[in-house]
Amino acid sequence: MSIFDDPLDADRDLQRGCSCGLHQSAAEHDQAAALRCEPVESEEKRYEGVVASAVMRAMFPQDMARRAFLKSVGASTALAALSQFFPLKTATDLFADTGAPEKKDLKVGFIPITCATPIIMAAPLGFYAKHGLNVDVVKTAGWAVIRDKTINKEYDAAHMLAPMPIAISLGLGANAIPFTVPAIENINGQGIVLATKHKDKRDPKDWKGLKFAIPFDYSMHNYLLRYYLAEAGLDPDTDVQLRSVPPPEMVANLRADNIDGFLAPDNICQRAIYDGVGFMHLLSKEIWDGHPCCSFAASREFITTAPNSFAALTRSIVDATAYASKAENRKQIAEAIAPANYINAPVTVLEQVLTGTYADGLGGVKTDAKRVDFDPFPWQSFAVWMLTQMKRWGQIKGDVDYKAVAEQVYLATDTKKLMTEMGLSPPASAYKSFAVMGKTFDPAKPEDYVASFKIRKAS
């Protein structure tokens, strides 16, 4: 798949079809490809490409004329000729050198789970430094603390659960402060783990009366577990017990027989298996393939006071996320983020999570390369879905302007711009439809979606 439209390619289909040739139009191609952050060979190449295409287009605004020129001299000659009278190298350097960050020394908070991979790895692997920042990534004790410290401005930006910035912006469980999500940290990457004694209870219909742990009320973990239980006909508010428990305590509680299972972020799921106290019932990816998990969040105030720092920070995260999306880099990443300074977990556990070849806790070894995946684009339809679930479970009451909230919090437009500048190709629209357990979600009709569920909190 080509990353961006290459104007130096004389055989590119101008009329219709997409760059890969598999789809009817470029828009359709964009819709189909979920992951769009594969980087080109190197940073310089990427900017060079962006600048060269801009210059080429400026000189030959008409596609046909440009094509004729390219056909007659060949792309490399054309480029060489171009650089004769246009200093491509200088322009590239200028382009890469965007506005200097207002604030170079930044603090970014994270919770030690593999969902924070791009935020964490960007420090040891030098992605922050590459974009001119000096970032301290600070391990934080829990979601409520990370929320308060970010609101207090002790952190410039932070790792948050994907629904948290929406909840904060709406004033749910906090003062209403406008927060934003410029990038999704990771997609998939959670699982339902049950205590080993329940290994014969694989049908959720038999789970009545069990006790489950989730990490936070405003989390994908909560919404996905509730969704899964409700699909099996259980009312998560009355038929089972859901408790908010910090992830490390989940493993200890599972060992102590105090809970029967949990839907938790990885590496906690794998850690329970590694310690022999539970097994993987299913990966959250089996509920909704490609669902967002954690997000990268900053307050709107930070964006307005330090727009260049914010842009550089987002660039570093998008860059790191692109690097993490490649399977061949995952082992190196596991090693980089395992030490006590970062996640503080055994390397084998992180490797199993990130490479997707893992022990399932029942004696088998399973492989799923997409167990955790990385795609930074903040789809606004994700935010709409989260809002529908907040509505469904009574976290928000009354009328909700789904679209307005989603667009205020999930900064798809800004991220799209940044990604384009970086030579990546973000999707054209910020809304896509997807299926959760086989049921299609149409982001244009959120109210109907909420109403379509039989099991929900009466409002």
Partner: protein, 279 residues
């Protein structure tokens, strides 16, 4: 007689320790390989699952790890990984600051309240309500209003260690023998002079007992506070290792917390002995 008594007590202590370590060691031994596992699967699992190793570390594991920590107590691998010596230093500095602030407030205030029975009666309900509040209950409030996590931690130390000192000062000042004050009065000693030369020395042992209780509480509180706000300190270390499910490191931290707490208490005990007077 005295030295042989001490020797015997020491020997009993050592015997008890040895017995404790022995039982601990036996109780946490590996049970040998469990069940049958494919080697490929076993490679992905931890020792607890493959070797039947107890989830609780034995004394040898703890000893080895402790030695590792003691060999380099002051390393610094970035914001989230520092040596135990540095972590303890952070905690002690926080406790020291919060505690000194509490001393500065509690003793003059306690003095005032103690000398005025009216104030003492009027403030008593407030003190009694505030005294039993747990440090963890103060934390969210502090984080929300102070908006700085390290100052919040110091505030929590302050607010939790102030009450025993205040109450003891009030009690000490109020219960100075009436005869002494009356003697001072007949000698026409002024109020200030009376406070400093008669009441303060007479109340000092009680005040210092209050301070000794407070330092104990301050040290109790710091672990909880740091576990909650994170960042640095021995409490953060415990949380970080708990997060890693490393019971070995948690045990080491508990041991060190106990030792430091004992040292702090001994220092105050020495001060208490210094101000004691024979009646």
């Amino acid at each position: 007689m005295n030295s042989s008594f001490r020797l015997r007590a020491g020997l009993v202590s050592i015997a008890l320790l040895a017995a404790f370590l022995g039982i601990w060691h036996l109780a946490t031994r590996s049970a040998g390989p469990v069940a049958t596992m494919s080697p490929e699967y076993a490679k992905l699992m931890g020792l607890t699952a493959t070797q039947g190793k107890s989830a609780m570390p034995g004394p040898l594991d703890v000893g080895a790890k402790l030695w590792e920590h003691l060999r380099k107590p002051f390393y610094d691998n970035g914001p989230n990984d520092k040596g135990l010596g540095i972590q303890l230093a952070y905690s002690i500095a926080r406790v020291g600051t919060g505690y000194l602030l509490a001393v500065l407030v509690a003793i003059p205030l306690g003095f005032l309240i103690g000398m005025s029975p009216l104030l003492s009666k009027a403030l008593d309900p407030f003190i009694q309500v505030l005294k039993p509040i747990s440090p963890l209950a103060w934390m969210p409030l502090a984080l929300y209003t102070i908006k700085d996590s390290s100052i919040s931690a110091i505030f929590v130390i302050f607010i939790c260690s102030i009450w025993p000192m205040l109450l003891n000062t009030v009690f000490g000042v109020a219960s100075v023998r009436k005869e002494w004050i009356n003697v001072a009065r007949t000698l026409e000693v002024g109020t200030f002079r009376r406070a400093f030369t008669v009441i303060l020395p007479a109340a000092a042992p009680t005040i210092l007992t209050g301070m000794r209780i407070s330092i104990g509480i301050a040290w109790l509180v710091i672990v909880a506070a740091e576990m909650l706000v994170g960042g640095t300190g021995i409490g953060y270390f415990v949380w970080n290792e708990w997060n890693n499910l490393s019971i070995t490191n948690v045990i080491i931290a508990i041991l060190l917390i106990g030792i430091v707490g004992m040292l702090l208490d001994q220092i105050l005990a020495r001060f208490t002995r210094m101000v004691r007077f024979p009646e």
